[in-house]
């Protein structure tokens, strides 16, 4: 057990990572021209902190994750910086990336089914990643894998089983165990519970929260579910059509949103009733997300925003820098409290349905 204790100590000594993303822009090359999936995005995750990156399908949140893991398709144009503990990790060679992936940034993917190899037992897959980065014997790596299984609530004896013998929730736990195995400074969780049933979702998220509390790794949680962010993350960045439109401390942003899109998201989010209390109807946001092959000149939300003016349609608001306090990319931030009151009426959002 001496070797295992040493390995554990070595891994425990790894500091939580500091992640600073500055002016990140990513455009996929398509036959019809560049598709600007991410446009001038900045955010910061302090060491040991959690950031929730939320947005709807196509907003660019997964593209951000892929760029941090070096998983973008070849030929994609990327600009800006992503400083991990001060070192830019964008555009690293495959070789240099292997020093970053798993050891410094670990990814918890959405579909555990596809991220596990069906022909190897789970224990082999976890020990493989440990052995690739640490000079220890296979027995020690296996013992470490057993400890990781325990952390996620799986019996160590099941390490010898294959992915198909696990249920969906167990597979997701196995993927989390794998991500934890090298105690990377930054955890990237990309929709970690989306494909699961509600009770399992809740159990996995509680597990992730308690792991975060114990290990104090930095974490970026990518999700479409603002309530999951509300319960898990200290800070939030709301993305819309490739841009961060609002960011800040989670409770502040969700209680007093300043961007009309965040207000709309909140109105549209289904809530459980409280006995004896009447509740607001669900209000959807009219219209559709702009095509990022030809993004509009002005604010990208202007076409769906009930408060949009000519200014919004002709001039894009200033992009958000990575400030710690609440900020929104909206020309009329100073009128946010007035907008919030009007935004709660269904009629406000009904003007252009389609």
């Amino acid at each position: 057990m001496g070797a295992l204790a040493k390995l554990n100590e070595r891994l425990r000594a790894k500091p939580a990572a500091h992640m600073l993303v500055e002016r990140l822009s990513i455009a996929y090359q398509t036959p019809r021209g560049p598709f600007r999936a991410v446009d001038d995005v900045s955010f910061e995750v302090a060491a040991g902190a959690t950031l929730g990156l939320v947005g709807e399908s196509g907003c660019g949140k997964s593209t951000v994750v892929k760029s941090l893991m070096g998983l973008l398709p070849e030929g994609t144009s990327v600009s800006g910086r992503a400083l991990l503990n001060g070192t830019d990790i964008l555009g690293l060679s495959e070789r240099a990336l292997s020093d970053v992936r798993w050891t410094k940034i670990a990814l918890i993917t959405q579909s555990a089914m596809n991220s596990l190899d069906p022909v190897y037992c789970i224990g082999d897959q976890i020990t493989e990643s440990i052995l690739a980065h640490e000079r220890v014997s296979k027995a020690v790596a296996w013992a470490r894998a057993e400890q990781m299984f325990e952390i996620v609530g799986l019996p160590g004896s099941r390490l010898t089983e294959f992915p198909h013998q696990f249920s969906g929730g167990m597979r997701q736990r196995a993927v989390i165990a794998m991500a934890l195995s090298l105690n990377a400074g930054l955890l990237l969780a990309d929709e970690p519970t989306t494909a699961l049933d509600p009770i399992m979702q809740d159990q996995i998220m509680s597990r992730i929260r308690s792991i975060h509390a114990d290990m104090r790794r930095s974490m970026i949680l990518v999700t479409h579910d603002i309530a999951v962010v509300a319960e898990t993350c200290e800070t939030i960045a709301v993305m819309y059509a490739g841009e961060v439109v609002e960011a800040g401390p989670t409770a502040q942003v969700l209680q007093n949103p300043r961007h009309p899109y965040t207000m709309g998201l909140q109105n549209a989010f289904p809530k459980l009733p409280v006995r004896g209390q009447s509740r607001m109807p669900l209000i959807s946001i009219p219209g559709t997300v702009p095509n990022l092959l030809h993004p509009p000149v002005g604010c990208r939300f202007a076409g769906r925003c009930p408060f949009a003016t000519d200014l919004c349609r002709s001039e894009a608001p200033a992009k958000l820098s990575n400030s710690i306090s609440q900020s929104a990319a909206c020309h009329y931030q100073d009128r946010a409290s007035e907008f919030r009151a009007i935004a709660q009426k269904a009629s406000t959002w009904r003007h252009k349905d389609g």
Binding site: E56, S57, S167, G169, M170, D197, P198, I199, M200, Q201, D202, Q203, M205, S206, H224, D225, I226, A227, V228, A230, E231, L254, Q255, G264, L265, Q266, N267, A268, F269, P270, K271, L272, P273, V274, R275, P281, L282, I283, S284, I285, P286, T288, D353, G354
Partner: protein, 350 residues
């Protein structure tokens, strides 16, 4: 709640069972072993009235979709009965089945795969009319336009567009229009908004709500997203492993759930305003396989309150209040009287 007399029942399931045969292994078949039955739907009673949206919630594998498909007769039930306007249609075939399918429609989860990409919106909605040989070209055109109007899609601009030109929300509304064009009385909406972005879910839910009221439709709304159910449903049933474990008004189920499973299900829903006190019991294991249903109460293998009685005797759906029924020994006065070890969980409403 208003006290108008209840509207007539449109669709009713009586002890409905739909079992499937598991494929037996070659060796099993050679040895003459009987293939095992998957009891996907195992004795469900349910009635939906005109103008009513009935919510059906539960996790994957609980049998919600099997119930929906059995009610519209995409599956032929293996036991029990389905009554439509008082008429037993459980095993009808041929013309009678075709007539029934005109009256009972289903909307699926994925509007990206349920619409033929090579047909225009107009053709997609017209197709059911052609299949059922309704009207001439002009009449069909009129009905297609009316159906589009009901789902708030401007007919003129959209009749000749293809599904790929539409957003997910618009596609789902086209799927609803296709179901409406036959003027059905009963619609099964199977997870109609779970593939859609949150910002547009409400628009589809609102349309379902308006339709049931304006056209007098009976709607079975199937969803794993319990929070959406509260917005449009008057009654809700919770399914677990092929059976209804709790049933009542939406308000009762969502604010004061009684069955331990329902309580856990409600506690699992995260909230924008985090509630530190939200009590969450970790459930043991996963939903058991419908091939291998535990004896006694089906939830007993995971239930934190389970006693010996629960693992041996199957509980019945018993009324606990007006229009509220629960399948749990904890709420069965007789069981509690004879088994003092049963300790009811504190209701979340208290």
């Amino acid at each position: 709640m208003d006290k108008t007399p209840p509207s007539p029942t449109v669709i009713e399931a009586r002890d409905l069972k739909t079992h499937f045969q598991a494929r037996s292994s070659l060796i099993g078949a050679l040895a003459g072993r009987q293939p095992r039955a998957i009891r996907a739907l195992d004795g469900v009673d349910l009635a939906i009235r005109r103008n009513e949206i009935y919510g059906l919630v539960g996790e994957s594998g609980s049998g919600k979709s099997t119930l929906g498909m059995s009610l519209v007769r995409m599956y032929e039930p293996t036991g029990g009965e389905v009554h439509y306007n008082g008429e037993n249609i459980t095993h009808v075939h041929g013309k009678a089945l075709k007539d029934y399918r005109r009256a009972a429609q289903i909307i699926f989860q994925d509007p990206y795969s349920s619409l033929n990409p090579r047909l225009t919106i107009g053709q997609i909605i017209e197709e059911p009319l052609k299949i059922h040989r309704i009207g001439d070209a002009a009449e069909r055109q009129r009905r297609v336009e009316k159906a589009l109007e009901l789902v708030r899609i401007p007919a003129e601009e959209n009749l000749h567009r293809y599904p790929s030109d539409l957003s997910g929300g618009q596609r789902q509304r086209v799927a609803i229009a296709r179901a409406l064009v036959l003027e059905p009385q009963f619609i099964v909406a199977d997870e109609p908004v779970s593939m859609l972005d949150v910002s547009i879910q409400a628009s589809v839910l609102e349309i379902l709500d308006d339709l049931s009221r304006d056209l007098g439709l009976a709607v079975l709304y199937i969803s794993h997203d319990i929070a959406t159910v509260g917005y449009i449903c008057s009654h809700v049933a919770v399914m677990y492993l092929g059976q209804i474990v709790e049933e009542g008004t939406a308000e009762d189920i969502l604010t004061a759930p009684q069955h331990p499973y329902t309580q856990r299900l409600m506690a699992a829903i995260p909230s924008i305003v985090p509630d530190e006190n939200r009590e969450r019991v970790e459930l043991k294991g996963d939903v058991p396989s419908p091939l291998d249903i535990p004896p006694g109460c089906r939830f007993s293998s995971r239930c934190p309150y389970a006693t010996e009685l629960c693992t041996t005797v199957e509980p019945q759906l018993v009324p606990t209040a007006e229009a509220h029924r629960v399948r749990c020994h904890l709420y069965d006065a007789e069981a509690v009287a004879t088994h003092p070890s049963l300790e009811p969980p504190t209701s979340q409403a208290a």
